[in-house]
Each structure stands twice: as structure tokens, then as C-alpha cells.
């Protein structure tokens, strides 16, 4: 049976290890060394904490212990490379962070480094999930339907690039921040999306990823409260607020229009709406802020029937002006259907599908099927539900689509 100190250690491992890691990367200047020494520090904790009790500040204790392990390791390796002796000496003399703020600064440094534009986007995501969020290679691989070996290779290459090209471990200057924040926002949003609607597997959501993404979003708002950063955090909070209502007790998908709104998290909604107001008040607003504004309109409606679809369509119009993408057009078409009736939406979706861009997007086929179903065009609905099923691997979504398919097949 684990004793109290070991339970606490387990908790510290889950909640504090990535913060400690971020600081160690700064102190040691190397990802792999930081990982190694942090691991050694936990090994020491397993022995010492049951004997001496849990330290008052576990995170600081970990950083301190890891640092000493690093000095030892570097001095051992210095026998083969004189430069490492210098690093060891400098490390021994450097000051440790004490305040929470300094730990948070190090986390920001880590995110910006992992999302540096000199690193390929797919590698940015893998690095961020691994180094900032602490996910295992296997978890990252299953989240993105890639082989673990591919993810591992990307991470190795990413770290090699950081080392060889000497990507600096720092938060960009104020002048460079607007340019650099875009890739960070994109990665954070990807992490959130992956958590909110897991690509594969049996569970509809992975709360560890959504929580991590929201935490990162808060850090970024503190750093740069511009419309898009505010918008992303708002969007994540408003989306997350619906999580308790999104899946039934059997893990089945519950559509927005059918969700029990009393289950929505009112605190997150209030925070999200306040952030939207701030974002809209500081133009120029972009895609995240607009999507957040739409999510806020859903959150404000006491029932699905009271949803202000007219204002939602107006937001999609605005979004299309800035970002004329087929997915945005699809979302707008769905809103049009709810505003002006299924036939109006169906025309828009059919012309989209005919253009071919959304041919592989299961939601386009699902939306088409749904509108056909509402219009009593069951043959076309059946075809489209089948097309949608062929394009998604997520279990709860598949069960939902299969149920609809049965409904329109007269069973």
C-alpha cells in the first residue's frame, strides 16, 4: 500500500513535473539532460520523502535536486569534454527560481521554443504535447492517428534542430510577439481540439488535454491580451463548458440542440462571455474571437429554440470575409438551415460538396444527411450517412451516425 508521502509524490508528478521541467530546460540549456535529471530527482524523492516527509515546496525541491544531479552528471562527462566542466561550474553558481511567476515564465519560454517557426508544424505539436504537456509518445500518436515511431522521430529531430541551430530558449520580444504567437495559438487550439473531440478511441473527450490547453491559454492571455489570444481562451472555455452535457451516460454523442443546458458549466460560460466582450472591444478581431462570439451566442440561449441564428450567420459572414475556407462555409450553411429552413442550407452544402474540397470531411456528409433527413429525402440521407461513417473512426460519432442511418432506413 502506498504511504502518504508516496501518494503525494504521485500527485506532484502529475501536476508539477512539467513546470519543473520547463525551469530545468532553462537552467541546464538542454531538453534531454533536463528530462534525465528530473527523472533522477523523482527517484531520490521515492527514497527520501517516506523517510524525511514531503518537502514544503515540492516543485522547488525537485528543481534543486535535479540541478545537483545535473552538476554531477556534467562533471562526470567533463572528463570527455572540457566545455561541460564550464557549464557545471556556471550551473552551480546560478540562482534558483523561488516564485511561481518565474516558474510560469519558464513555461512560456518552453512553449515559444517548441513552437518556433523554424520547426515544422507537425513537430511543433509533438514537441509541445511531449515537453510542455508531458504526454507520452504513445498518447500523442493515438491522438493524431500516427505511429508512435513517427512521433518519436519528430521529437528527436525537433530537439536536434533546437540544439544544432541554437534556437534560443526565450519568450520573443514585444516586437516579435505578434508574429510568433500565431503558431503557439494554433498548437494550443490543436491540443484543445484533440482533447475535446478525441480522434480515435472510445472516449469522447480527454479532459487532461483540454485542461492543459486552457491552462496554456491563460498563460498566454497574461502575456499578450490581444483579441485573438483572448478569443482563443474564450472559445476553449465556452466549448469546454458544454462537456458535461456532450456525452450521455453510455458515452453516446448528444447534439447541441438536444443537450441538457442545466449541465453546462456556468462559471466557464461567464468567464468566456467576459473574454469575448474584451476581444470584440479590441479590434482587429480574428477567427478565434469570431468563433468565440458564436459559441457565446449558443451559451446565452436558454433553449436551443431561443438561439439567435441571425446573429450567428452574421458572424460567419464576417469570418468568411477574413477566412474564406470551406469549413467556415459549411458551418454557415448549417446556421442558414436553422435560420431559413433545411432547403436553404441544403443548397449551400450541396454546392460545397460538388466543389470537392470537403469530400473527405465526415461532418460535411453528416450535415448533408441531416438536412436530407429533415426534408424526408431518405435515400439521399442514407447515402450521406454512409459516406460520413466511412470517414470517421471515433466510436461515439460512429454510433450516432449508425443510429441515424437505421432511422432513415425504416428500421
Amino acid at each position: 500500500m502506498p504511504t502518504d508521502p508516496l501518494l503525494r509524490l504521485d500527485e506532484v508528478y502529475r501536476t508539477e513535473s512539467r513546470r519543473a521541467f520547463a525551469t530545468l530546460v532553462r537552467l541546464l540549456g538542454d531538453f534531454d539532460l533536463a528530462e534525465e535529471c528530473l527523472h533522477d530527482a523523482f527517484a531520490v524523492a521515492v527514497e527520501q520523502w517516506p523517510r524525511d516527509g514531503v518537502p514544503e515546496n515540492p516543485r522547488a525541491w525537485l528543481v534543486s535536486t535535479a540541478r545537483f544531479k545535473a552538476i554531477d552528471a556534467l562533471r562526470r562527462r567533463a572528463k570527455f569534454a572540457a566545455s561541460l566542466a564550464f557549464v557545471a561550474t556556471r550551473l552551480a553558481g546560478s540562482r534558483e527560481p523561488i516564485s511561481d511567476d518565474e516558474f510560469e515564465d519558464d513555461r512560456l519560454r518552453l512553449i515559444f521554443t517548441c513552437c518556433h517557426p523554424a520547426i515544422a508544424p507537425s513537430t511543433q505539436i509533438a514537441l509541445t504535447l511531449r515537453e510542455v504537456c508531458g504526454l507520452s509518445t504513445e498518447d500523442i500518436a493515438s491522438a493524431f492517428l500516427t505511429a508512435p515511431a513517427t512521433i518519436a522521430q519528430r521529437i528527436v529531430r525537433g530537439k536536434a534542430k533546437i540544439r544544432a541551430a541554437k534556437i534560443p530558449y526565450q519568450v520573443p520580444s514585444l516586437a516579435d510577439l505578434p508574429e510568433r504567437i500565431d503558431s503557439v495559438l494554433a498548437v494550443v487550439y490543436l491540443v484543445f481540439n484533440e482533447g475535446y473531440s478525441a480522434s480515435s478511441g472510445h472516449s469522447l473527450t480527454r479532459t487532461d488535454l483540454t485542461e492543459e490547453a486552457i491552462r496554456l491559454g491563460r498563460l498566454l492571455v497574461e502575456l499578450l491580451p490581444d483579441a485573438e489570444v483572448l478569443g482563443l481562451l474564450a472559445l476553449m472555455l465556452l466549448t469546454e463548458s458544454r462537456r458535461p452535457a456532450r456525452a450521455s451516460s453510455t458515452g453516446d454523442l448528444v447534439l447541441l440542440e438536444e443537450q441538457d443546458r442545466s449541465l453546462w458549466n456556468r462559471e466557464q460560460i461567464a468567464e468566456g462571455r467576459a473574454l469575448v466582450a474584451r476581444a470584440v472591444a479590441s479590434p482587429p478581431i480574428g477567427a478565434y474571437a469570431i468563433q468565440a462570439a458564436i459559441a457565446a451566442l449558443h451559451a446565452e440561449a436558454a433553449t436551443a429554440a431561443e438561439t439567435n441564428w441571425g446573429r450567428i450567420v452574421a458572424w460567419y459572414d464576417l469570418q468568411l470575409r477574413a477566412d474564406p475556407s470551406p469549413v467556415v462555409e459549411l458551418n454557415r450553411a448549417v446556421a442558414i438551415a436553422l435560420l431559413d429552413g433545411p432547403a436553404a442550407g441544403l443548397d449551400a452544402i450541396e454546392s460545397l460538396l460538388n466543389r470537392g474540397e470537403l469530400a473527405d470531411y465526415h461532418l460535411a456528409h453528416a450535415a448533408h444527411a441531416d438536412l436530407c433527413r429533415r426534408l424526408g429525402r431518405f435515400d439521399e440521407a442514407r447515402d450521406s450517412y454512409r459516406s460520413a461513417l466511412a470517414r470517421t473512426q471515433q466510436e461515439p460519432e460512429r454510433r450516432f451516425l449508425e443510429r441515424r442511418l437505421r432511422e432513415v432506413s425504416g428500421q
Binding site: 544544432a164 541551430a165 541554437k166 534556437i167 526565450q170 520573443p172
Partner: protein, 120 residues
């Protein structure tokens, strides 16, 4: 840390000799700026790719041919060798190279091999 900045562009876009001269003057000014900061290690424009010669040695045999090693849509037009603290500094310098406005500047970190001759 040393970085080699390689300026590539489509030779076809340099039709105006006055423009080329202006770009070269700007590059020279950049080298002096870098030199003042202790970042300049060398730079030069290159003669067009038509003047290139390629050399390969295979099985002890020397093979010499006319032209670059590969036909590409953008060709190497010049280089800067710099000393910068990190990649962001190198990127900031690369963005100032006039050729970056017409083509692409590739940044390659230099491997510091021990045992090379010291130049003054």
C-alpha cells in the same frame, strides 16, 4: 555561433542592372553594420550560375562539367558568413539581406570543427 546565410533567387528576376547595383550597395552597407557588431565573418555575391563548374571525383577519376550541380528554379547568388548568438539573431540578419526580398535566404548552422587553421 557561426551561421552560413545562402541567398537564392531566380536569376531571371534581375533584369534591371540599376536595381542589382542598388541591392549590392545595400548588402555592402549591411556588412559594415554587422562588422561594427562583431558579427561579420565574410560575404560576397557570386557570378551567375552560367559561370559555374562542377567537379566530382569517382573511383579516383576526376569529372569536370559545365554548370551547377543541379538545375534549380532558384540559384545561389551570394553568401554571408556571420557570428550570431542564436538562430533568432541569424534570422534577423538574414531578413536584412536585400536578396531576401526577391528570393530565399537559407540559414545553415556551421559545425565547429576543431583543428582548422586560424585566419586573421
Amino acid at each position: 555561433m557561426r551561421y552560413l546565410l545562402l541567398a537564392y533567387s531566380d536569376e531571371g528576376v534581375w533584369t534591371d542592372p540599376n536595381e542589382l547595383d542598388a541591392y549590392r550597395l545595400e548588402s555592402v552597407a549591411l556588412t559594415h553594420d554587422l562588422h561594427a557588431n562583431g558579427q561579420y565573418l565574410g560575404a560576397a555575391p557570386l557570378h551567375p550560375v552560367a559561370t559555374a563548374t562542377s567537379v566530382r571525383v569517382r573511383d579516383g577519376k576526376r569529372l569536370v562539367t559545365d554548370g551547377p550541380f543541379a538545375e534549380t528554379s532558384e540559384q545561389l547568388g551570394g553568401f554571408f558568413l556571420i557570428d550570431a548568438a542564436n538562430l533568432d539573431e541569424a534570422i534577423a540578419i538574414a531578413a536584412r539581406i536585400p536578396g531576401a526580398r526577391k528570393g530565399t535566404v537559407e540559414i545553415r548552422p556551421v559545425v565547429e570543427l576543431p583543428g582548422l587553421p586560424q585566419l586573421n
